[in-house]
Structure formats: C-alpha cells, structure tokens
Symmetry: C2
Subunit: 356 residues, 2 copies
Amino acid sequence: MTASPIPAVWTERHRLHDPGGEVWVGVPIPGTEVVARGDLIRDALAAAGFEIVPPAEHDPEHLHRLHHPAMVEYLRTAYDAWVAAGYPEEPGQDRVVPYVFPLPQAVADRPFRLPAAPSARAGVYTTDTTTLIGPGTYRAALAAADAALTAAELVLAGAPAAYAACRPPGHHAGRAFFGGSCYLNNAALAAQHLRDGGRGRVAVIDLDAHHGNGTQDIFYDRADILYASVHVDPGAGWFPHFVGYADEAGRGPGAGANRNRPVPPGCGDGPWLEAIGDLCAAAGACDALVVSLGVDGAAGDPESPLGISPAGFARAGEALARLGLPTVFVQEGGYDLERLGGLVVGTLTAFAGAHP
Amino acid sequence: MTASPIPAVWTERHRLHDPGGEVWVGVPIPGTEVVARGDLIRDALAAAGFEIVPPAEHDPEHLHRLHHPAMVEYLRTAYDAWVAAGYPEEPGQDRVVPYVFPLPQAVADRPFRLPAAPSARAGVYTTDTTTLIGPGTYRAALAAADAALTAAELVLAGAPAAYAACRPPGHHAGRAFFGGSCYLNNAALAAQHLRDGGRGRVAVIDLDAHHGNGTQDIFYDRADILYASVHVDPGAGWFPHFVGYADEAGRGPGAGANRNRPVPPGCGDGPWLEAIGDLCAAAGACDALVVSLGVDGAAGDPESPLGISPAGFARAGEALARLGLPTVFVQEGGYDLERLGGLVVGTLTAFAGAHP
C-alpha cells in the first residue's frame, strides 16, 4: 500500500448522540463516551491525510439480520415514549435510564410480557445504567451502522482496507441486548455485509480493551464468522463482567469459532501482542477481516488498566496487515481524548505500511 | 375473640435498615420505605392496646429452606465488600447500588460466573436500583424474618392469630432474587414454618398493593402452599412489571395453587373486596393462613393508585377472619405515614372482631 490509502468513513451525525453522562452504581457521572471523541478522530485522520468519506444510508431493515426487530423498534421509540410519559427532565436527566431488570431467575419459565411502563421497559434490553438514550441516540447509532456498512462496501468494491469512525461504538450490543455505551453492533453488521457480499468466511478480531459480548452473542452459533477477542480479564473485575472468559468457544455449528484471550490488568504490550498473534493465527483461514478497533487498552486510558503503548498498537496493526485479508476497521472504544486520534491514525498507518 | 387479642411481634432492630433513599431511573430520590414506618406501626399498636412481643432469634440456616444460600451470603457480606472496594461514599451514596445486570438474553446458555467486581456482583440478585444495601440491612432483614417466624410460632402454640411488624418488607424477595425494598421473604418463611409445624396446607393471601413476585416464585411449583394475591395490574404499568398476571397459575405440582387477581388503578373498595372474596374462597381448604398485610393500597398512599378506604381494609380483615383459620399477619408495604398505623390497627381489629 501507499501511505494512507485507507478511506475513512465519518459523519457528523455522530454528534446527535450526546448521552450527557451516565449512571454508575447509582451515581450520575460525566461518562467517557463523549461527543468530542468523534470529532477528535476525524481531525486526526484529516490531518494525517486520510480521505474522509461520508456513509451511504441503508434501510434500517438491514439491522434485523442481526438484531431482534423488537429491540430496534425499542431503540427507535424509547426516548419519545420517555418524554411523553413525563419522566424526570432535570438537567442531565432527560435520558432513558433503566431501574428494574428481568433477571433470569426472576422471570424464567414464567409468562413474560413487555412491561407497560416506559420506566420498566427501559430494563428489558439494556444490560446496565450506563447506556442512556437521548433524543438523537437512535439516529446516531443508525449513522454509525451506516458507516460500518459503507466501509464494508468499499472493501467489497476492491479497497484493500477501509475504516469506519463509528460513534456510538457497537461491540457490547447483542442480538437482543445493548449496553456498555453500545446500541447497534457496527462490527457485526460489517462482517455480515462482507458475508452477504460473497466472502466465504469472515473473522472479527476485537482489539478493544473490553470483551465484545455483543459480537460474541450474535455469532456464537455460527461457523462462517469467527469472533476472536483480546481484552482485560473479566474475572479480574472488568466489564462486561458476566462473559468474556477463555472457555467460551462457540456452540453448535459455531463451536470453535469463538476465541477469547483475556489478559491481566497491567499486562502491557508483550502479552497483549502475543494474544493478538494467536487471534491472527486463528483467522488465517478466513477470506475477509473486520477489526473492532478499540484503542482503550492504551496506557493512560481511563477505562482500562492494560497499559498498551502507541508502539504496541502499531505492532498490532502490522500483525493484522500480515494476514493479507481485505479488512474493515470499525471504531470501538478509546477514551483518552489527548491520545485517541493519534492511536487510531498510528494503528491504521502501521497496518497500511505492512499490508501486502 | 376479645378486643385486641392479637400479639404483635416487633423489634427496634428494624432501625438498623436505613436505606437512605433509592435510585429510580437514574435519579436519587428519598424513597418511601423509611425507618419511621416501623416505629409508627409500633406506636399505633401500643396505643390500641396490642401486646408488643419481641421476636425470638433463629439460626440464619433457616433461610436456606426458601432462599438460595448464595443470595443469603451475598446479603450478609455485600455492604462490607462494597466499602472495602472503595465505592462512592458521598452523602447518601454509601449504599450498595447495582448498575449492570445479567439479562437472560445476554447470559443464557453461556458459562455464567459470579462477577469479581462488587459493582457487578450487586446486579446478580437484585432486580432493581431501588433496593439498596446499607450497613445494617442484613441484620434488620434477619430481625424481620425472626418476627415472622415468631408470629408463626405463636400461632402454632395456639394463638388464633399473631402479627409480625416486619420491616424491611419481604414479598418481592424470591428464591434467588430480591428487590422492591424487600430482601428476605418474611411471609414465605412464616408459611413454611407453619408447614414445618404440622399444618397440612397453608394459604398466603397477599393484600399489598403490588404483586408479591417473590412469594409467587418461591411457591410456584408447590401444591402445599397456595399463593393468592390482589394487586394493581402490572399490565397497567405497575411494579413488579414483569409478573403478576392472572394467567400465572402455578407449575407442575403447584398448578392451580397460584392465584393472581390484578385490579385496575383507581378501582376503590368494590373490585378490591370482590377479588379478596375470590382469594378467600380459594383458601377455604387450607389449614392455616398467612396474610401479607400491605396497606399501600390505601387512598393517599404514594406507592399505589388503588384508592382503598379504611373501611375497605376493615372489610378485608373481616373477610379473612371468616375463613376461621389460624392466621399469621406479616407486614408488607404501606407508605402514607399519616395513616399507616391506623390502617394496620384497623385491619387487625376488624379481623379480631370477626374471627370465630
């Protein structure tokens, strides 16, 4: 590749999603998945000479391939229903926040109905109180999905690689749940799009500091899409807490097509890159690659303790490039606003320099 | 019965549980299940001439008959683990509050582990963010269970009826979940105690304004304990939202031994008493009775729209008395601090006057 040949799909529509903070253990906090992230990434890409491409719009019906239609409909309508119901609208509180949840042991084997109250409906699909829905959340999530689909289309049209600056991120969104600041699974949609475009087997390699429980959920039963993730060990107390362990390896036809490589807090570049090497080896037999490019593993990021250096991210980009696969990068996390843009550019540039 | 022959089991240990508010749709609010409730009930009973009896202490092992030992252990240790982990301790925030929950569709058929972080562990057994755990919550919940067990023992020893002034309440606590300001299921423990004491079949009639999803859960498969509840229709948007519908009738050996009579918001005395008549008819073949005596259905209560009058509660007490069964009353909700004590005394007095 020549320098910076990777088209970067970006849209200002990400700004429509301004969660205005989150609620953690009952305490309203500012949150880290902020509007500035999307603009900082764009500015860094533009300054580095990347071509910025707008996404094409896609019919939301597309989402139903991977997400339950009822969840999509909920995301589309939740904010308006919330406001219509007259819930708290104090400053910073005009967002959909759940408070009651259908725990499996409380509803299992019982007749289950969607609750009537918007306050209770808010807990049906949301795993947590940190993933709020504001007036523009659904439209921004659609735009992020459009960006991922557009990047996949660029690759299907012949680009060796493309990058989608998705915001909000997506890898914690499963078939019928969302959480962890994610609403729709951009990376999963890109992978499915590559399959639909004729790629026989697709690998999703997830570099985000946290396990992509949504992507794992969506593809857990499938052999045609490998999900492979390196992330901070949930057993050490990290989100998504309930899944992301090494022994989750897929099910039925998907057995063996799910690979989790948890790494310990503070591991730094060495163990992280070794895990990525394993994930790349597993992806060798695939025909296309989606990279869930979270850069929140970086040293100094407020959301992870991994301590990966910028050079580590560049080495990761090179390792992915050596697979020689058509590659779609999809932005996930990364919350150190000082370093975010540089980490994304550095990873993509290293990839471009090493791609055959 | 002579006037006020019902012994009232009460302990000041309820004061150990001071939730200091709750979190509803992400907003910290004062809450209504306050310490004053327990003292107001006692004062009203004493003023009306009821004998106040302290509870006997019971080995917590007793709880394992109906509650999962892991949940009991969690309740015992959660606050200390929370403080040890250094979670927020700003005023009103030194309580265990969950933020992430193991939704069934997010963890079903996956390896499931108790999360390492206390912040995530807080969502494993709790259905909501309104049921906080403070330094004395477990001890107060134990004392409330002791009160219910003691009331059952008084009845087993020959008292026609006994009342347990339980606080915190219990009917939203299931085998392996707790919520709705409830931690341990006092009424279910009393019913089991009556069974263990030789009563062949026990009815639990639940007058609380909300469905007792915990009690239903605990006895859903059993034929020997009937659960029968009148409550505001969850389909109209009321807690516990996910269950409490009329077609939940028990399962397996318990089929037919669960009876829900939802009533509409604003129904007033007529439909409510008609439903209670149906529940009493269903309980006719039982050998003992536990009454989950919530008085939050009363007109003016901040937690329900039922609009029941004091005379309605008296009529309910008389209807229960006409069953002629040895009866254990267990306090559940009731949040109108002006009327709470009078409603409890009025119901018990009407019962005593009509009991054979």
